[in-house]
């Protein structure tokens, strides 16, 4: 049985309600900000914003996953092992770059709008997935590899049937990190002209309309949390299927002393 709890469905309900029926909250925001003549963001519907936001994240995360998987597999094969140090260093140093700075750097390259946002999201998303792929493929125990060789697996079937399934939890963890960062960065993407759930926030900040800020912030926060919960469920299902888990911490303290 998968434990979902009560929190996630409640948050999901709140998210759907807000995304679909934000204009209905006008009386509430009017009460909250009585001096505000336009208490609800109406330039685009929140459903539209959510879809635009999701599209940015899906395209960039999808492309980044494909690219990172390819590179990660290449540098862990004998043919590409030479590239492992430089690729690993790039992935590690690249992740210390602030996402907002990467987004800002995309502007000189591609101007304003969706394109630079997509580029920044794509470039940044590669790094955690690449790191996860490399770590996951390295974590495949040597004896398992050897057993696969001994049983006569070709290197391609060994990769698809043994190595990738065993590395899957690490790869998924990388995709999760990437996606959450991408959702956050896509929000900031509104400052360079991309339409996303960040648009009400950025416009609200510029026009000192706190109601807009609140609406955008609430919906995008719920969106990010729900996506993260989704990954959590996916990770748990994967762990149960493959009976392998991310390296957890050691057995509980005191367990050794209590053993009879």
């Amino acid at each position: 049985m998968m434990r979902v709890g009560l929190l996630t469905p409640l948050l999901a309900l709140a998210f759907v309600a807000l995304a679909l029926f934000m204009p209905a909250t006008a009386p509430f925001f009017h009460w909250l900000f009585p001096e505000n003549p336009r208490p609800v963001f109406l330039r685009a519907s929140f459903l539209e914003l959510t879809l635009a936001h999701a599209e940015l994240v899906l395209i960039s995360a999808g492309a980044a996953t494909a690219f990172a998987l390819g590179v990660g597999i290449f540098v862990t094969r004998p043919a590409g092992r030479e590239f492992l140090p430089i690729v690993g260093a790039l992935a590690a140093v690249g992740q210390t770059f602030p996402p907002a700075a990467v987004l800002a750097l995309a502007v000189p390259a591609l101007g304003y709008g969706e394109a630079p946002t997509l580029l920044a999201l794509f470039l940044y998303s590669i790094l955690p997935i690449l790191e996860g792929t490399i770590a996951g493929l390295h974590a495949v125990p040597a004896d398992v590899r050897e057993a696969a060789d001994g049983l006569g697996f070709s290197s391609a079937t060994k990769l698809t049937r043994i190595e990738l399934p065993l590395a899957a939890p690490y790869i998924l963890a990388g995709v999760r990190t990437s996606t959450i960062i991408a959702i956050g960065t896509a929000t900031i993407g509104s400052t360079i002209g991309a339409l996303s759930l960040g648009s009400p926030i950025v416009e609200g900040l510029a026009a000192e309309n706190t109601a807009y800020v609140l609406q955008g912030a609430l919906v995008v926060a719920l969106f990010a949390i729900l996506v993260d919960r989704g990954f959590e469920l996916l990770e748990r299902r994967l762990a149960r299927q493959s009976r392998s888990e991310l390296p957890a911490s050691r057995p509980r303290r005191a367990a050794a002393a209590a053993a009879p």
Binding site: L32, E82, F83, P85, I86, A89, L90, V93, T96, F97, P98, P99, A100, A101, A104, L105, V107, P108, A109, I180, I183, G184, T187, I188, T191, I192, G198, I201, V202, G204, L205, T210, V213, L214, G216, A217, L218, V220, A221, A224, I225, D228, S249, R250, P251, R252, R253, A254, A255, A256, A257
Partner: protein, 394 residues
């Protein structure tokens, strides 16, 4: 023919590829050098006209070409020491010549008739510069740690010296930087101050959470669920969510207003950075404390240490590397998030980024973004050195 002769012929007749990374770098650089080396615009807002490397000058092109050929040839050198040396030398040469060529070329393009002319760095510059960095990395990969440190420091010093000498002053980035010289130190200090305050406050807030997570098994899952939830919320949204309650507080509590708490400014930024910082800190400290080997703890109890003695003498020292790596994550993360804080009026280097985006002044964006990246990379490197030292010490 003797065996020695045979070996010699084999050595000369068979050209073997020894470093495909160098080969790829040389090819990428060659392809990239076709793009715009500089871009020249009549003013800050207009689009630039590209200036390629060979437009800059024949001798400059020849120097870059020679260096790229050296990178290319390095790929075929069999001896590792020589190959690494050639790669590092060509990489360093590329970095230094890039700066010098860009600086002098920009100076030559200045026009007294057109005082607003902007000479910006183009894609060819950035690609060749990146290839230079990667060639240096590849060249230093097998070097002893001391050589790595010395050569990188020497190279960094050389690049900084070139920048400081005024050689680059004609580039629009330098001019933009010069234009902001009055506010830059203030914003830089404000950025660092915000990050430092966030790290310190988050560390103190993390202590009770860590103790509860490690020693009260009931609280563990609730703490991690909450912190993970906070970490998931996009930064700008968390800043936004704090505005309303804080302006409410500022409006109704005069004391809060007097000490500078308001919906906009440093207060929401600091609170948000602290909230973000908690998860990495608590997670790494928790892992560090829980990974203290069970038999070591049992030995400590068996020796007659009490709970406090076990914590201070055994658990804490053994968890120290994990604690420092938590600080590393939080510091690097906060440096990046503090950019976004500029949107809610907290100042910092993000001010330049968003002002530049708003005014379509791309060099101004770089004035904010490049120092932030350098700050993050430097903080990361510093913490790595500290972690390596705590590891090797008792």
């Amino acid at each position: 023919m003797s065996t020695a002769d045979l070996a010699a012929t084999r050595r000369t007749s068979r050209l073997a590829l020894h470093d495909r990374v160098a080969l790829v770098l040389a090819l990428v650089a060659a392809a990239g050098s076709f793009g715009a080396f500089l871009s020249i615009a009549p003013n800050r807002l207009a689009d630039g006209r590209p200036l390629t490397l060979w437009n800059v000058g024949l001798s400059q092109t020849a120097i870059v070409l020679a260096l790229l050929v050296l990178v290319f040839m390095a790929a075929f050198i069999g001896d590792r020491t020589w190959r690494s040396g050639a790669l590092f030398a060509s990489g360093a040469g590329l970095l230094i010549s890039m700066l010098l060529i860009a600086g002098t070329a920009a100076a030559a393009q200045l026009d007294p008739q057109e005082p607003a002319r902007r000479i910006a760095l183009g894609s060819a510059f950035w690609i060749l510069f990146s290839v230079g960095v990667l060639a240096c990395f590849q060249g230093l990969q097998h070097a002893a740690r001391i050589w790595k440190a010395l050569l990188s420091l020497a190279l960094a010093a050389a690049l900084i010296a070139i920048a400081a000498s005024g050689e680059l002053n004609s580039l629009s980035l330098a001019r933009e930087f010069h234009a902001q010289r009055a506010t830059f130190p203030t914003e830089l200090l404000r950025h660092i101050g915000l990050v430092a305050a966030a790290v310190v406050v988050a560390s103190f807030c993390a202590i009770p959470l860590v103790l509860a997570a490690v020693y009260r098994s009931g609280a563990r899952s609730a703490i991690f669920t909450t912190l993970n939830l906070l970490q998931t919320i996009p930064s700008i949204a968390l800043f936004g969510l704090l505005i309303a309650p804080l302006s409410f507080v500022a409006a109704h509590v005069s004391l809060a207003r007097e000490i500078g708490i308001g919906g906009i400014g440093a207060a929401p930024a600091l609170i948000a950075l602290v909230l973000y910082g908690l998860l990495p800190l608590v997670r790494s400290a928790d892992a560090g404390l829980r990974n203290v080997p069970a038999n070591v703890q049992e030995a400590a109890r068996g020796m007659g240490m009490n709970a406090q003695e076990i914590f201070w003498k055994v658990d804490l020292p053994l968890a120290l590397p994990a604690l420092v790596s938590g600080l590393r994550v939080v510091t690097v993360q906060s440096i990046g998030l503090a950019i976004v804080a500029a949107l809610i009026g907290a100042g910092g280097l993000g001010t330049f980024v968003f002002q530049g985006i708003g005014e379509y002044a791309l060099d101004l964006v770089l004035v904010g973004a490049l120092p932030t990246i350098l700050l993050a990379v430097a903080a990361d490197a510093l913490f790595q050195i500290v972690i390596a030292n705590v590891r090797s010490r008792p």
